[in-house]
């Protein structure tokens, strides 16, 4: 099926992907953030979600792991409906996931090594000290932070924290990894290393990834499929080529980072900002 722009608009069924959202609506009080989103995350593919700031990308991502429950709608994991599970049963499902939080969400009372080990300690009985040292070392090396084991999150830069959080998200070798802006706050080279890492895990280990990003370079590089979220709906859906040549103006403006004329008009209307307006004349004697 198609909406005329060539977007995937098929009716999703519970077996269409590893994780499936069906007609999900999410409201916070009066604020409707997601209006009827249906989405099937395909196994072994990298799905990228783009969209303007505040459009609900993080909210959407949290629904995939049930950190938020839909107001209306259904969520499936491997064909099993999980949005009605209680927290205890969800905990078992969640061990199949890795989640990279937008702000990192590292435990600031634990060292970098203990942060990476946290999920391992929770689900396995650790018997060999050298084994876990090796595990921490490999995971940290993947994000270029081997040697930082004994640092505390408070002593790391924003980008370093993000990378430790990424190492923690992949510590259990999950099947599905959800990344909330993995490259934001990193320099271009480091960002590209993270892109390569995401690609490597997908190609080498067949992992399923969902990546929220504003970084179009990264999106084009890693995506098998790009979804644009706008005003609580899926606005465009297709591979990188499809999105790049999308006929819709709003999509084009977003991916090319151009403001619309309406938005510019608002800036013009506010007139010229002269220095004098900011000088505290009234306060002078």
């Amino acid at each position: 099926m198609s909406n005329g722009n060539g977007d995937n608009q098929g009716v999703v069924t519970k077996d269409d992907g590893v994780v499936v959202l069906k007609n999900v609506v999410k409201k916070f009080g009066e604020n409707v953030v997601l209006k009827d989103v249906s989405l099937a995350i395909e196994k072994g593919k990298t799905t990228v979600i783009i969209g303007p700031s505040g459009c609900g990308k993080t909210v959407l991502l949290k629904h995939l792991i049930l950190l938020l429950r839909p107001t209306v709608g259904e969520v499936y994991f491997k064909g099993e409906r999980i949005d009605e599970f209680n927290e205890h049963d969800l905990d078992k499902i969640r061990t199949n996931y890795g989640f990279l939080f937008q702000g990192g969400a590292l435990f600031d009372s634990l060292s970098v090594a203990e942060n990476v080990l946290f999920p391992v300690r929770q689900h396995y009985k650790i018997t060999s000290k050298s084994g876990i040292d090796e595990l921490v070392r490999t995971k940290l090396a993947m994000v270029g932070l081997d040697g930082f084991q004994n640092y505390y999150p408070g002593n790391l830069s924003g980008g370093q924290r993000k990378r430790v959080a990424l190492a923690r998200a992949i510590a259990l070798n999950p099947e599905v990894i959800l990344y909330d802006e993995p490259t934001t706050g990193l320099d271009p080279i480091r960002a590209d290393i993270i892109n390569e890492l995401i690609l490597k895990m997908q190609r080498g280990l067949g992992l399923t990834s969902v990546v929220v990003t504003h970084d179009m370079t990264s999106a084009y590089k890693i995506a098998d499929r790009i979804i644009m979220l706008h005003e609580g709906k899926i606005y465009a859906d297709g591979d990188a080529e499809h999105i790049r040549n999308h006929p819709n103006q709003i999509v084009q403006q977003f991916i090319n980072g151009r403001v619309s004329d309406d938005d510019l008009e608002v800036l013009r209307m506010s007139g010229t900002i002269s220095r004098s307006e900011f000088e505290p004349l009234d306060l002078e004697e």
Binding site: E87, Y97, F99, D108
Partner: protein, 269 residues
């Protein structure tokens, strides 16, 4: 107007329900923790943070309570020529009532404040969600060790407060007011029953539980931002304070009932 009241009442009930739910989760998680030795290290860490560092403040509180009681009560008893009974008055008040309550209030400020601030900050920086995202129950990981540590330690801290209160009272009565030390202790020993001390210590379990549960709940339900955390801390202290006083009242009534029911049997034994 009625609408607003109705809405407030509804919200109040809703929050009560959420709190009850939280308490239930905390209890089951604590029972799980007790039956699971691998969680003992978490409890141990919390006991260290909560308990060891609270000892000095609790002791100081106790000492001042004892000393102040002595100063206040001396004139009244001396007026009736009963100053040698000072010990009973001071020590019963200290072990049964003032020691436990004031130590608990001290802990509500020191420990409760820290718990709410810590968990509240974890909430607003998504660390609690992060625990969940890794398939761990945050109530099991964060709340149970704190509740258990408070529950186990508050009675001990109360014993410390009691001891210091007794010493404070002794210091002022015997050294300051020159009461005969032998008489002071003899009257104390005959007046203070094991029952009085036990009641004080049992209160400690309840106070400790209340402080930890309320503070953790407020941290978990904290609103966004630095303001949210600050507000949660204030609310946690006020709620802990009131529930300590309310629990104290209820426990006093219960203790009195039990005492009058069973204590007469003692003479039969």
């Amino acid at each position: 107007m009625l609408d607003v009241l109705g809405h407030k009442a509804f919200l109040g009930l809703h929050n009560m329900g959420r709190f009850a739910r939280f308490i239930w989760d905390a209890i089951t998680a604590s029972l799980y923790s007790i039956s699971n030795p691998s969680t003992y290290s978490l409890i141990w860490t919390q006991m260290h943070i909560i308990g060891v560092r609270s000892v000095p403040v609790v002791m100081i509180t106790g000492a001042f309570v004892g000393m102040t009681l002595a100063v206040q009560a001396y004139d009244q008893l001396a007026g009736m020529g009963l100053e040698e009974h000072l010990g009973v008055l001071i020590n019963v008040s200290v072990v049964k009532e003032l020691g436990p309550v004031l130590a608990a209030i001290m802990l509500a400020g020191r420990v409760g404040g820290a718990l709410t601030a810590e968990l509240g900050t974890m909430k607003v920086t998504e660390q609690i969600e992060a625990v969940k995202s890794m398939g761990t129950d945050p109530v099991k990981y964060l709340v149970a060790p704190r509740v258990l540590a408070c529950l186990l330690l508050t009675p001990f801290l109360i014993i410390f407060a009691d001891l210091m209160g007794i010493m404070g009272g002794y210091f002022v009565s015997v050294i300051q007011f020159d009461i005969n030390a032998r008489a002071y202790w003899e009257f104390s020993a005959s007046g203070v029953e094991l029952w009085d001390v036990s009641i004080g210590v049992i209160k400690g379990f309840f106070f400790g539980c209340a402080i930890a549960a309320i503070s953790c709940y407020k941290g978990f339900t904290c609103k966004e931002g630095a303001h949210g955390v600050g507000e949660a801390c204030t609310e946690a202290f006020v709620a802990s304070f009131i529930s300590i006083l309310a629990l104290d009242f209820i426990l006093a009534i219960m203790a009195k009932t039990i005492y009058s029911m069973f204590w007469p049997l003692k003479s039969l034994v």
